[in-house]
C-alpha cells in the first residue's frame, strides 16, 4: 500500500471505531446522568458542525444561530400540538419537517443578512435572533408567549428515557458531518473557501458568491433547526429566552474556534472538550455565575494563544514530526525541518 492509501485506510478505520463507540454509549453507560451528558455533547457536536458549514467555510461569523435552534424547537412543538401527535417515537419523524420550516425562515433572514459583510453581518445575525425572540414572546396566540410551550412527554422508563434522544442527536450529528465532508470535497465547497479567502476575487473568477453563501447559510440553519427540534422534545418545555439563548449561539462558535475553524473535525473536537466541561461547571458553580468567568477565560486563551484551533495546530505538529523523521536524524538539521514543515504552517 502506498502511504497515502495507508493513511486513508487508517482514517476510515478510526472513523468506524469512533462511530461504533458512539453507538454503544447507552449500552456501556446506562445511567441517566451519563446519557444526559451524552445527549448534550452530541447535540453540540451537531451544532458546531452545522455552524462550521457557514462560519468556517465562508468566513461569515453568525452569532445568531440560536435563532434557528429556537425556531426549529418551536416548529416541532407547534406541529405536535396542532396535529395532536402523542408522545413516543412518532415526533422524531416530524423533525425533518421542522428542518424544512427552518429553511424557509433561514432563506428570509439569510437574504437580508447576506447583503452585508464582515462585522455588519455579525451584528445583523444578532439582531435577527432578537427579532425572533421578540416574535416568540409577542405572538402569544401562536407560541404561548412568555408562558412557554409544552411538548408531549413520553412514558419511557427513567433508565431508557434519554436513549432515543441520544440516537436522534447522533443521527443528526452524523448527517451534519457527512454534509460537511461532502461540501468540503465539492466544487461548491471550493467556492465557499474562495469566498472566505477573498470574496471579490472569488466573484471575479466566476463564483456565484451570493447564491453559494445563501445555500451554505440555509444548510447550516436547517441542521441547527432540526437539532433544536429534538432538543425541544427532549426538555419537553420551552420558552423564548430559554430556547433562543445567545449563549447557545455563542457556544457553538466557541467550539468551532477551539477545535479549528473551517476544518471537518475541529468542531467535533471542540464540542467534545467544551460541552462536558460546561455541564460540569454549571452543575457545580451554576448558581454563582462564576462559570461564565471560566467560560470567558477559556475563550480568551483559545483566541489569543491558539487562534487557529486545536486540529490545525496538532496537524502541523504531526506534519513537522513526520518530515523530521523522514529526513532522518542525520540528514535534518532543525532548519531544514522547519523549512520542510513551512508549507503546513500557513497563517490563516
Amino acid at each position: 500500500m502506498t502511504p497515502a492509501r495507508r493513511t486513508s485506510a487508517l482514517k476510515g478505520g478510526a472513523l468506524l471505531v469512533v462511530v461504533v463507540l458512539a453507538l454503544l454509549v447507552p449500552v456501556f453507560a446506562a445511567d441517566p446522568a451519563t446519557t444526559n451528558i451524552a445527549v448534550f455533547t452530541t447535540m453540540y457536536v451537531g451544532l458546531a458542525t452545522a455552524w462550521n458549514i457557514m462560519g468556517g467555510y465562508t468566513g461569515y461569523i453568525s452569532l445568531g444561530h440560536a435563532a434557528f435552534f429556537g425556531f426549529g424547537s418551536y416548529a416541532l412543538g407547534l406541529l405536535l400540538a396542532h396535529l395532536g401527535i402523542a408522545a413516543g417515537y412518532t415526533p422524531f419523524l416530524f423533525v425533518p419537517v421542522a428542518g424544512i420550516l427552518t429553511v424557509v425562515i433561514a432563506l428570509a433572514i439569510g437574504w437580508i443578512a447576506l447583503r452585508t459583510r464582515a462585522a455588519t453581518f455579525v451584528i445583523v445575525t444578532i439582531s435577527c435572533m432578537f427579532i425572533l425572540q421578540l416574535l416568540a414572546e409577542n405572538l402569544v396566540g401562536l407560541t404561548g408567549g412568555g408562558s412557554g410551550l409544552s411538548f408531549p412527554v413520553p412514558t419511557w422508563s427513567g433508565d431508557f428515557f434519554n436513549t432515543p434522544y441520544y440516537y436522534a442527536m447522533l443521527v443528526l450529528a452524523l448527517v451534519g458531518l457527512a454534509v460537511s465532508a461532502g461540501i468540503r470535497r465539492s466544487k461548491f465547497g471550493l467556492g465557499l473557501l474562495a469566498i472566505r479567502d477573498d470574496e471579490d476575487k472569488a466573484l471575479a473568477v466566476g463564483v456565484p458568491a451570493r447564491g453559494f453563501k445563501l445555500t451554505a447559510f440555509v444548510i447550516s440553519a436547517a441542521l441547527v433547526g432540526m437539532i433544536g427540534a429534538v432538543y425541544g422534545y427532549y426538555v419537553t418545555y420551552i420558552y423564548p429566552q430559554f430556547v433562543i439563548d445567545p449563549l447557545v449561539g455563542l457556544s457553538m462558535v466557541l467550539m468551532v474556534f477551539l477545535g479549528g475553524l473551517g476544518t471537518l473535525w475541529g468542531p467535533v473536537v471542540g464540542a467534545l472538550i467544551l460541552e462536558p466541561a460546561q455541564l460540569w461547571l454549571s452543575y457545580n458553580f451554576g448558581a454563582s455565575r462564576l462559570y461564565l468567568v471560566f467560560y470567558a477565560a477559556v475563550f480568551l486563551v483559545v483566541i489569543l494563544l491558539l487562534p487557529r484551533g486545536i486540529v490545525p495546530s496538532v496537524t502541523d505538529l504531526v506534519v513537522r514530526w513526520r518530515h523530521g523523521s523522514a529526513a532522518g536524524p542525520a540528514g535534518g538539521s532543525s532548519e531544514t525541518r522547519e523549512a520542510l514543515a513551512a508549507p503546513g504552517v500557513r497563517s490563516p
Binding site: 468566513g59 461569523i61 452569532l63 437580508i112 447583503r115 452585508t116 459583510r117 464582515a118 462585522a119 455588519t120 455579525v122 451584528i123 445583523v124 444578532i126 439582531s127 432578537f130 427579532i131 421578540l134 416574535l135 414572546e137 409577542n138 477573498d198 470574496e199 471579490d200 445567545p246 455563542l250 462558535v253 466557541l254 474556534f257 454563582s288 455565575r289 462564576l290 462559570y291 461564565l292 468567568v293 471560566f294 467560560y295 470567558a296 477565560a297 475563550f299 480568551l300 483566541i303 489569543l304 487562534p307 497563517s347 490563516p348
Partner: protein, 291 residues
C-alpha cells in the same frame, strides 16, 4: 392626542443616553475596525460601580462619575493593550469573539459580587418632575440628557479641535497613511478605546438611573447599541446619534400608538428596511472588505 408629542420628547431625552453609549461604540469601531460586543457589559459595569459608591459612601451617581470615568478609561486602555492589540489575522471577527468573552467575564463577576437581583440607582431627582406644556417630565431625564449632551460635545471638541482628535480622525480614515505621517496608531487606538469605555461609565449612570438593571442586562443593551450603529453606519459618530434618536423615538411612539410589547419590534423593522436599501447604513461609507 397629547400622548404622541409626549412620546417624542421622551424619546429624544432617552435617546441622548443611547446616543452617548453608541458614540463610544462607533468611535472604537472607527479607530480600530473592531466591534466591541462588550460595550453593553461595560455600561452595566459603570452602573454597578456608581451603585457601589452610592451604597457604601452615599455618593450621588452623577458625582461618582468623577471617580468612575477615569477608572473605566484606564480599564479600557488595559483591555485594548492586553486583549485587542495581540489579535492577528481576521481581526474584525476575532475581536467580536474576544469582546463577547470579556462581556461574559464581566457578567459573571458582577453576578458574583452583586447577585442577579435587579438594582436601580436612586437619587432625589428621580421622582421630582417639571411641568412642560400639559405634561410633566422627570428631572432625571433632563439631567441625564444634559450630561450626555455635555459629554458628546466634549467628544466632538476633542475630535475636531485637538491634535489627539486629529490623530484619531486620521487613523479612522486610513491606518497605514496615518502611520506614515507619524501617528502612533497603537497609542491612539489604546487611548480611543479608553475614551470609548469611559463614555460607557457615563452612559451606565444615566441608564442605571432611568432603568432597572442586573448583570444580564447587557445582552438587550448591546443588541440595541449594535443595531443603532449599524443603522447609522459603522464608524460614523453622526450616524450613532441619529440612529439612537430614530430608535428611541420610534420605540416610544409605537408604545403609545400601538402597544408597548411591539415597541422594540418597530425599530428592528426600520433597521431591516434600511439594510435592504442601504446595506452600509444611513451615514456609512461602503463597507470595506476584510483586508
Amino acid at each position: 392626542m397629547t400622548l404622541v408629542p409626549q412620546a417624542i420628547i421622551l424619546g429624544i431625552l432617552t435617546g441622548g443616553v443611547y446616543a452617548l453609549m453608541a458614540s463610544g461604540l462607533t468611535l472604537i469601531f472607527g479607530v480600530m475596525r473592531i466591534i466591541n460586543v462588550g460595550h453593553g457589559a461595560l455600561v452595566i459595569l459603570g452602573a454597578y460601580l456608581s451603585f457601589a459608591l452610592l451604597r457604601s459612601l452615599h455618593i450621588d451617581p452623577f458625582l461618582s462619575l468623577v471617580v468612575t470615568m477615569p477608572a473605566m478609561f484606564v480599564l479600557g486602555v488595559v483591555m485594548q493593550v492586553v486583549f485587542v492589540r495581540p489579535l492577528k489575522g481576521d481581526r474584525e471577527a476575532l475581536s467580536v469573539l474576544v469582546t463577547y468573552a470579556l462581556a461574559l467575564g464581566i457578567e459573571g463577576l458582577l453576578g458574583f459580587f452583586f447577585t442577579n437581583n435587579y438594582q436601580q440607582l436612586n437619587a432625589w431627582y428621580e421622582t421630582a418632575s417639571i411641568p412642560l406644556f400639559n405634561f410633566r417630565i422627570a428631572y432625571v431625564y433632563v439631567f441625564g440628557f444634559a450630561l450626555c449632551l455635555a459629554i458628546l460635545g466634549g467628544i466632538f471638541w476633542m475630535l475636531y479641535r485637538t491634535t489627539f482628535g486629529r490623530a484619531i480622525r486620521a487613523t479612522m480614515l486610513n491606518r497605514t497613511a496615518a502611520q506614515l505621517v507619524g501617528v502612533d496608531v497603537d497609542r491612539v487606538s489604546a487611548l480611543a478605546f479608553g475614551v470609548g469605555v469611559a463614555t460607557a461609565a457615563a452612559g451606565g449612570v444615566v441608564f442605571g438611573i432611568t432603568n432597572v438593571f442586573n448583570p444580564g442586562s447587557h445582552y438587550d443593551l448591546i443588541s440595541r447599541l449594535l443595531t443603532i450603529i449599524v443603522l447609522g453606519g459603522l464608524g460614523s459618530l453622526r450616524g450613532a446619534i441619529v440612529g439612537a434618536m430614530v430608535m428611541l423615538i420610534s420605540t416610544d411612539v409605537t408604545a403609545v400608538v400601538i402597544s408597548p410589547v411591539w415597541a422594540s419590534f418597530v425599530f428592528f423593522v426600520i433597521l431591516i428596511g434600511v439594510l435592504v436599501v442601504r446595506p452600509q447604513g444611513l451615514y456609512g461609507i461602503t463597507v470595506r472588505d476584510r483586508a
